[in-house]
């Protein structure tokens, strides 16, 4: 292990008594057979009373272990081996276990990432909230009354009736509210939230973030928020701690961090993120490499192998966290520590200047497709009522063109994608492929479909067979294209080069690769049949932020070099903006708005599009005070969609606010052209342009 430099807790503008929680020199190790892994190394941070501290980092940065170390809940074989955790002046690491248990839940509470597994499915939510009070010595009747208050406080509608419901009767967003209610039960002064909105959709995320902000203001609760999302940090946090390789590399007030970064990692990470307000004419400046494995950290500054400013000193000695500029900001970097500024990083133009651009004939066209997802579940006792997850969708993709498909989970975008490639069968409608428009679901259409359209999956860990080497996986695809056995080796090497991987890795198994590398292999497999169109189903959403830009750039250069058309499915609006030429927004099985990407992003016409954009957090603190449209409620079930306009139950300009607008409930709005050039399915389409 390296010599641990003594960290000087930076002179901050927050005075001592203001800090509710102060962590000093925290060190947590995991002892395993292979050796000791130091997951958290000399971490110091402070949470001020009634403020939100964001701890940001990628996978393996130690952010979650830090949170668990504070609560002394590090999973085996982890152990806190050094440092102090001062909560209101008491060192939590020195407390006895019974005292610590009394403190958890009553003074410090935790909100977990996955509301699905954080609630016990066999107990009612009311009981689970009350239980949090009962274990801290409240009698049953009082506990139930307080549980009801708490459920109302976190915004569960109709709480009196729902208090005796079970978790499965609630949507994901509502469950997360219940989890927060449980956390609030003991009236804690500190809430530790570990990725509280990562499992939720953007419009629901906006609701939960707004709730956390309200609780901070009303109840004066401090929040320690663990997240990987710079947008969430910018929207909600007062202070920020950036972690990398188990250490704090930069910290300070949020406005300072977002306006002037003092660590190259923070600076380059923010630059590498696509922005919703920037078009995709230039490549993203991706950070090379991948976040380090905590078991094999580079010497010196852990970021040096990926840093464009790295010097000899960075490779040998760990820089200490030192204050910068007297504003409470601090960074651990040798180069900027000498006063050098981080040189700006310009986005390189796309290689070859102007890209050929979308043109020519449509290679994939979807016409009026409806997919009944209930048909699979037919049983001995007859067919269930049809459930159309995709209900009459049409779109087309031309060569060299990217069509973005945006929507929240459950809107049917993945079902549509899987139907196009023949995994699901459509109940109605056709899919035509190739320049001749062959119907894909006829006997003669199967071959053209397979050779024209290929699929890139979301989860790079699940899309490769763990039992087969990369060569075998690629070989299977080449075999399907009809490449003779003898020519496959050369083709496989060429594919590896194409996606930016070393051809020497061909005989490795998937587990030897990082997430980004696996995604590259998945892309190579799709390319092996020389398709014309790739369906990319959330190809970057499972990747670390610094890797996303690499994959986005790869997809862009493949599109421009090979003239591929993409149907790019994502929930992240900024990624879609960056890549797409045209965009389609889906809500509950239907396209509600579609058109050229600039028109849709600059003047969205459908209230749902407006709400989606408004809910997406931007990595910019100056955008924090913008007028935001936060949708109420949840996505209705496609089993029983609302009559007329499907969005009317959540629409900010629909019958909810204008009861006289009966047309929304009576008549389904058609996709109609708007003055800005896109199509929108709304009776009052132009109205949102004013709001946005």
């Amino acid at each position: 292990m390296n010599a641990v430099p003594q960290t000087i807790v930076p002179e901050t503008r927050h005075d001592e008594e203001n800090a509710l929680l102060e962590v000093r020199g925290l060190r947590t190790e995991f002892r395993a057979a292979g050796g000791t892994v130091c997951a958290v190394n000399d971490v110091s941070l402070a949470v001020r009373r009634g403020k939100v501290l964001g701890v940001v980092g990628e996978s393996g940065s130690g952010k979650s272990v830090t949170a668990r170390s504070i609560l002394r809940m590090v999973p085996e074989p982890g152990r806190v081996v050094g440092g102090e955790v001062l909560f209101e002046g008491r060192d939590l690491l020195g407390l006895s276990e019974p005292n610590m248990r009394a403190l958890r839940g009553s003074e410090i509470a935790m909100v977990f990432q996955d509301p699905q597994s954080a609630l016990n499915p066999v107990l009612t939510v009311g009981y689970q909230v009350a239980e949090a009070l009962i274990v801290h010595g409240v009698d049953r009747r009082t506990a139930r009354r307080r549980a009801l208050e708490l459920l109302q406080q976190v915004g569960i509608p109709d709480a009196e009736r729902r208090i005796d419901d079970y978790p499965y009767q609630f949507s994901g967003g509502m469950r997360q509210r219940v989890v927060i209610a449980i956390a609030l039960a003991g009236s804690p002064s500190l809430l530790i939230a570990d990725e509280p909105t990562t499992a939720l959709d953007v419009t629901i995320q906006a609701q939960i973030l707004r709730l956390l902000g309200r609780l901070r203001d009303e109840l004066d609760i401090a929040v320690l928020m663990i997240t990987h999302d710079m947008g969430v940090v910018a929207e909600t946090c007062d202070d920020v701690v950036v972690m990398y390789g188990g250490r704090v590399v930069e910290q300070g007030p949020a406005e300072m961090i977002f306006s002037r970064q003092e660590h190259p990692y923070t600076a380059d990470l923010l630059k590498a993120m696509p922005r919703m307000d920037e078009d995709g004419m230039r490549r993203l400046p991706a950070i090379p490499g991948a976040p380090p494995d905590p078991a094999a950290l580079p010497s010196g500054c852990a970021f040096h192998p990926r840093c464009r400013l790295a010097e000899d000193e960075c490779r040998t000695t760990v820089p200490e966290l030192a204050p910068r500029g007297g504003t409470g900001q601090a960074a651990a970097c040798w180069v900027t520590g000498r006063g050098a500024a981080i040189p700006p990083l310009d986005r390189a133009p796309a290689d070859g200047g102007d890209r050929p651009g979308p043109g020519g004939t449509s290679l994939l066209s979807v016409e009026n497709v409806r997919v009944n997802v209930a048909s699979e579940r037919r049983s001995l006792f007859g067919r269930p009522d049809p459930v159309y997850a995709v209900d009459g969708v049409s779109l087309s993709v031309a060569g060299g063109e990217t069509v973005g498909l945006v929507g929240e989970s459950g809107c049917g975008k993945s079902t549509l994608a899987r139907t196009i490639v023949g995994i699901n069968r459509p109940a109605e409608g056709t899919v035509r492929v190739g320049p001749d428009g062959v119907d894909a679901f006829t006997g003669a259409g199967t071959r053209p479909l397979r050779s024209t359209v290929q699929y890139v999956f979301q989860d790079p860990y699940a899309s490769l067979n763990p039992r087969r080497t990369v060569r075998q996986s690629l070989g299977e695809a080449l075999e399907m294209r009809g490449v003779p056995r003898g020519a496959r080796a050369a083709e496989a090497s060429e594919l590896m080069r194409r996606v930016g991987l070393n051809e020497g890795y061909l005989d490795r198994y998937p587990h030897a690769f990082s997430g980004g590398q696996r995604q590259r292999i998945g892309i190579a497999r799709a390319l092996a049949v020389q398709p014309k169109v790739l369906i990319c189903d959330e190809p970057v959403s499972a990747l670390d932020v610094s890797i996303q830009a690499q994959i986005i750039n790869l997809l862009e250069s493949l599109r421009d070099d090979l003239g591929l058309g993409y149907l790019f499915i994502a929930h992240d609006l900024s990624v879609v903006r960056h890549l797409s030429d045209r965009v389609a927004v889906m809500y509950l099985g239907k396209i509600v708005e579609t058109g050229p990407v600039d028109a849709v992003y600059s003047s969205p016409q459908h209230p749902y599009t407006v709400a989606l954009m408004s809910s997406s957090p931007a990595p910019d603190t100056t955008a924090r005070d913008r007028e935001r449209i936060v949708l109420t409620g949840d996505l209705p079930s496609p089993k029983n969609p609302p009559s007329g306009c499907r969005f009317r139950t959540r629409c900010p300009i629909g019958p909810l606010t204008h009861p006289e607008r009966r047309i929304c409930a009576e008549e389904e709005p058609p996709l109609a052209e708007t003055p800005h050039g896109q199509l929108a399915a709304c009776h009052f389409a132009s109205e949102m342009a004013v709001l946005s």
Partner: protein
């Protein structure tokens, strides 16, 4: 084009080879080594039985129920036959039975579990059939087989085979249902790979581990099925020795000649121990992946 700058984080990790290589790795753990060694020793004894005991298993002396002596280490049975010789020949019977019936059960059961690939109805029908088998206690099932086939080796073989079917059939179906939704299986389907190839290339290799572990566990159960049927007199018939039949007869002479049951009992114990250790080791090796 992008360059390869990502570090191969797991490069140092052990490559996971084929199924056989992983099972061999399991044998290198202490449990696996002891289990395999013990089983190897028992198999060797069984194979060498005719060499070790040229007199065979039914050489009747004049001394019935004799105690231990230089000629008969554990004495003789009620007909004056050497107990050690009969135990080893009994072990030979049992091992032949286990090492054929259990794999047969695993293969047929797995195929029944995978029948859903051919048609949904066939798959569902097979599961109901397995449910029916599961509905009968093992001993009742064994007795019905005996009713049809008569007592003897083939009845035991069929009993062990049939009783094991639900175990493997359900395991295979559960695995199939999980694997069918895996993205790499979908990727192969999108490429247009034929169903049969998807099954053998992507599904089977990923569901075989729990089936192999179950087979090792079921070996232990099968020893008890043989013993159980023999104890009620429906197993291997005299004069052929089997461990279960010897325990059955020996129990009658427990007071006068305790060594009678100890011979087959000890071997049964060792056999069970060997399979238990093996299945434990396999399970650990497979889960650690």
């Amino acid at each position: 084009m992008t360059t390869d700058t990502e570090t191969t984080s797991g490069a140092a990790r052990r490559e996971s080879g084929g199924a056989v290589r992983r099972y061999l790795a399991a044998l290198r753990t202490p449990r696996g080594a002891i289990g395999a060694g013990l089983l190897g020793l028992l198999v060797l004894l069984a194979v060498l039985a005719p060499v070790l005991f040229p007199g065979g298993y039914d050489d009747q002396g004049d001394n019935a129920l004799a105690g231990a002596s230089g000629a008969h280490w554990m004495g003789t049975d009620e007909l004056g036959r050497d107990i050690v010789a009969r135990t080893i020949f009994g072990l030979r019977t049992d091992l032949t039975l286990l090492l054929t019936a259990v794999p047969a059960s695993a293969v047929i059961g797995t195929l029944m579990g995978l029948a859903g690939v051919i048609s949904r109805w066939l798959g569902a029908g097979m599961q109901r059939l397995l449910d029916v088998i599961l509905g009968f206690p093992g001993i009742v099932l064994g007795m019905s087989v005996v009713l049809v086939l008569g007592t003897g080796w083939s009845a035991l073989f069929v009993s062990i085979l049939v009783i094991g079917l639900p175990l493997f059939g359900r395991q295979a179906r559960a695995g199939l249902q999980v694997e069918q939704e895996r993205e790499y299986v979908l990727a192969a389907r999108v490429l247009g790979v034929r169903r049969r190839t998807v099954l053998t290339r992507h599904v089977l290799p990923n569901i075989v581990d729990p089936i192999v572990v179950n087979a090792a566990v079921y070996m232990v159960v099968a020893v008890f099925i043989e013993a159980g049927l023999s104890i009620v007199g429906l197993g291997i018939q005299p004069p052929i020795p089997s461990l279960g039949a010897m325990l059955n007869t020996g129990a009658r002479y427990l007071e006068v000649h305790p060594a009678y049951v100890m011979g087959p009992g000890l071997v049964l114990l060792l056999l069970t121990l060997a399979f238990t250790l093996l299945s434990n080791a396999l399970n650990k090796a497979v889960l650690r992946r």
